[in-house]
């Protein structure tokens, strides 16, 4: 399997014998000792995978177990301190990588970051309303205000629940649409990757970044509705 890294493979020397080794290699090609993590590639190359968004989870799990068996600290108990540290760092990195790549959304977020698609200020991403959702947010805020007024006037619990449900529905539908679109774009991205179509890939990533930001925002909106419902319950009890 050919990892999808840039053409110039950086070299990191083995602490034991000084032999240079590509960063995505786990053991020294000459003395076979576990290499310190040092500079490294990324989660995908660590697993020997291309930067695909649709991964076979069974295969990923198998790679995870196989690599665990290679560097777990249990097996370096009698090794030198350098090797022990390398085993600890490599195992930690492996565990973090597996946790990230196993989850499709975590995987997407990670890839966007890797390809330089993170917004300049991450704070903006969560506080500023995405353009495509402005209308939806105004609508929801109005409804929530109306619900709060109704509650203050002593409306029945069943009426409030009905209103909350109505407020939630368009957001949930929109969220489902976003996930569908993301799914399609992920497939498109992987196809472009296979075809070595760099421009097409970036186009897909750009579209996914926008969708992902909106999705995060929609999830936060849903959380707001849930809090409102929770407040109602707390007030009722």
């Amino acid at each position: 399997m050919q990892p999808d890294t840039t053409s110039a493979v950086p070299i990191d020397p083995c602490k034991h014998c000084g032999t240079g080794a590509p960063v995505d290699v786990h053991f020294c090609p000459r003395c076979d000792r576990i290499l310190t993590l040092g500079r490294h590639g990324d989660y995908f190359t660590f697993f020997g995978l291309r930067r695909r968004l649709r991964l076979d989870l069974k295969d990923l799990e198998q790679r995870f177990r196989a690599l665990s068996r290679l560097f777990h600290p249990d097996y370096f108990h009698n090794a030198t301190p350098t090797e022990r540290l390398a085993s600890l760092e490599r195992s930690s990195y492996l565990n973090d990588a597996f946790r990230t790549l196993r989850d499709p959304m975590g995987r997407l977020e990670y890839l966007l970051k890797l390809e330089g698609f993170t917004p300049k200020e991450s704070r903006d991403a969560t506080t500023k309303v995405p353009q495509g959702l402005l209308e939806e947010v105004f609508e929801l805020n109005e409804q929530l205000e109306a619900i709060q007024d109704l509650r203050a006037e002593g409306a029945s619990a069943s009426e409030l629940a009905l209103r909350l449900h109505a407020a939630r529905q368009p957001i949930e539908a929109n969220l489902a649409r976003h996930e569908e679109q993301l799914d399609a774009l992920m497939a498109a991205h992987d196809a472009r990757l296979e075809a070595d179509d760099t421009d097409g890939r970036r186009e897909a990533l750009t579209a996914m970044r926008t969708l992902l930001l909106e999705r995060t925002y929609l999830m936060n909106l849903l959380a707001t509705v849930r809090r409102e419902a929770g407040a109602g319950e707390a007030a009722a009890s």
């Binding site: 600290p73 249990d74 990195y93 973090d96």
Partner: protein
């Protein structure tokens, strides 16, 4: 090469096991006992007793005797307030600091008490290897188990206890995971396993996937303050109310009650009813006796058993599995002998739990297997465990920012960027927490770290990367780098509920000063242990609901009276300082019960052949 053993440092009992490439074995003491009661007692002369002798002293010198010390490991005084009054010893400590247990004039911390237990296990293992004719019987290192839900402070306290006992702690592993390792070794079958571990003081649930020798924990949950002790306390409170006992002034009597209710609790796992018998209650002429049926017992303890179910559901949720996707449920810990516990586990997972492994020994066996993996470097098996609680730091407004999420496979790492608020600021305070709640004050404080040596710069300019590393023991370490200058910062740790390294060093020196092996005293203790074993076995037989039936049909007239006389005689002599006296009386009881032992053996065999269960036998006896 010196030996590496596996140790189960339990709330009620502790065990030591050893595996050397082959089948792991639990190491017994000189009288064949594998369980070491986790009880420590100090007499006026400063002699330390551990195990069964300490258990006996609980009835005669309760205020100098500590049991269930595990419940205090890594805890603060505010955590143990509710139960403190039922313990015979005094407890003190600063809020947010280490608890101190008072044994007469001496004040000891929980790791020091635990170290006495570990030292006894080390001695037991070394004596065993010496008996086997081993050239190098020394035990210098161990794998020690802890409840999966133990936090960082509780794990660190356990590691400190090992150091104080003169053991290098090669690894801390989780009890349910150790049990699963022993179980998997036994069954060699792949699939999803739920380990339900209800011990003396702690409850754990772990969901694991076994796949071709890799034991991967998917999720864990639990309660480090829930176990058989809580059941005992309910029963003690019930009887103490009957008797009007005051725990503050009648510690010895409370311990006599505790012993009696534990006996009744055990009996109720076998029979439909039992008696709580307390002899010699101060201020009472006749012995106390109260009948308790299994139904009464179950309604009394139902809330405690119920508290174990929500953690199970949460663990399943975190593992993203439904109860029906669990292939096997395995029971660990003495409290899983209780029929109600078994029924509830069966109901939750929809399948009969495995009970064919000894729930007392399985954890120690797993620890020995792990010790063998570490020493040999053999790669057939691998444990991948998780951190039970999320790790975070306190940010502005007392909110927790999570850095490593719960149920992350360990080793795990995370990092966070910090900067300064004032020009030329050279230090930053960081408060580290463990738990799932949003507010810092609702979580467990692990410690406050002071980051020093930041190069003087205008405010906001330094970029300090703080790296949090949880190792394979589930224990945290922290390092920091200022990224603009590449300068490493020193970190000063003030553990919230732990000992500093200097304190551990000082205790280590003190413990050497106090160490004195009294061979004569030890031999007396061994004789007493043997006597206790036969007393226990005889009393258990006499208490059987069907004993009258057995005696009438199988024993000769007057035989029971003879046995009872020999039993009373031995019990009377237990306090004797001359071990020969006890030995003679033990032999006498042994002889008096020889025929009875044969009768009981035949009775059990016949009952088994007739296809009757113990319950049927018990029912007929009434």
């Amino acid at each position: 090469m010196s030996k590496v053993v596996g140790i189960d440092l339990g709330t009620t009992n502790s065990l030591v096991a050893f595996a050397n490439g082959g089948r792991p074995v639990v190491i017994a003491d000189e009288s064949g006992d594998t369980l070491l009661p986790s009880i420590v007692s100090l007499d006026g002369a400063g002699t330390v007793y551990v195990g069964r002798e300490a258990q006996r002293r609980l009835l005669t010198d309760a205020s100098h005797t500590v049991y269930s010390v595990k419940r205090f490991m890594g805890r603060g005084i505010e955590d143990v307030k509710d139960e403190e009054r039922w313990f015979p010893f005094k407890v003190s400590g600063e809020p947010g600091g280490v608890v101190h247990l008072h044994l007469g004039e001496r004040e000891l911390t929980p790791p020091e008490i635990s170290a006495f237990i570990l030292r006894e296990l080390k001695r037991r293992a070394e004596a065993h290897f010496a008996r086997e004719g081993d050239f190098d019987p020394e035990v210098a290192a161990a794998v020690i188990t802890v409840p999966a839900y133990f936090n960082d402070a509780q794990r660190t306290a356990t590691r400190d206890a090992g150091r104080l006992a003169g053991l290098e702690v090669l690894r801390i592993i989780n009890e349910p995971t150790a049990a699963c390792l022993a179980y998997g070794l036994d069954k060699r079958r792949d699939g999803v396993v739920a380990v339900y571990d209800l011990g003396g003081g702690t409850f754990d649930i772990s969901i694991l996937r076994i796949d071709a020798g890799v034991f991967q924990v998917l999720a864990t949950n639990g309660d480090t303050h829930l176990g058989g002790d809580d059941i005992d306390r309910l029963l003690v409170e019930m009887v103490a109310a009957d008797l009007g006992l005051d725990p503050a002034t009648q510690a010895d009597a409370v311990q006599a009650v505790r012993k009696a209710v534990i006996q009744a609790k055990w009996d109720l796992s076998e029979f439909d009813e039992a008696h709580i018998d307390v002899a010699g209650v101060p201020g009472r002429a006749e012995p106390y006796r109260r009948r308790i049926t299994r139904a009464e017992f179950e309604s009394l303890i139902a809330p405690i058993v119920g508290r174990t179910l929500e953690p199970c559901r949460r663990a399943l949720r975190d593992a993203r599995l439904g109860a029906s996707q669990v292939d096997e449920a395995v029971l660990v810990g003495g409290s899983t002998r209780i029929p109600l516990v078994r029924r509830e586990v069966e109901r939750l997972f929809g399948r009969k739990p495995h009970t064919d492994l000894n729930p007392d020994e399985v954890v120690a066996i797993g620890a020995a297997v792990q010790a063998d993996i570490l020493v040999s470097g053999r790669r057939e098996m691998l444990l991948l465990d998780v951190t039970p609680l999320s790790l975070g730091i306190e940010t502005m407004g007392g909110i927790v920012s999570k850095i490593i999420l719960r149920n992350s496979t360990i080793p795990a790492s995370g990092s966070e960027m910090f900067t300064t608020f004032v020009d030329n600021q050279t230090a930053v305070d960081i408060h580290i927490l463990q738990g799932e709640r949003e507010m810092a004050s609702d979580n467990r404080s692990l410690g406050r770290f002071k980051l020093r040596g930041i190069p003087p710069m205008p405010a906001g300019l330094p970029r300090i990367q703080v790296r949090f590393q949880i190792d394979a023991n589930g224990i945290l370490s922290v390092s920091a780098h200022e990224l603009r200058t590449g300068i490493a910062q020193t970190i000063e740790v003030k553990p919230s509920y732990g000992l500093t390294d200097e304190e551990v060093e000082r205790m280590l020196i003190e413990s050497f000063e106090h160490a004195q092996e009294d061979v004569e005293a030890r031999m007396l203790i061994e004789v007493r242990n043997e006597a206790d074993t036969i007393i226990g076995a005889t009393e258990k037989t006499l208490r059987r609901p069907d004993f009258a039936e057995i005696a009438a049909s199988r024993l000769t007239p007057g035989e029971v009276a003879l046995i009872e006389a020999a039993l009373a005689d031995l019990k009377q002599s237990m306090g004797a300082a001359d071990r020969n006296v006890i030995q003679v009386k033990t032999a006498a009881l042994n002889q008096a019960t020889q025929h009875l032992a044969e009768v009981m053996m035949n009775w059990t065999v016949q009952a088994a052949l007739a296809g009757r269960t113990a319950d049927d036998v018990a029912a007929r006896g009434r």
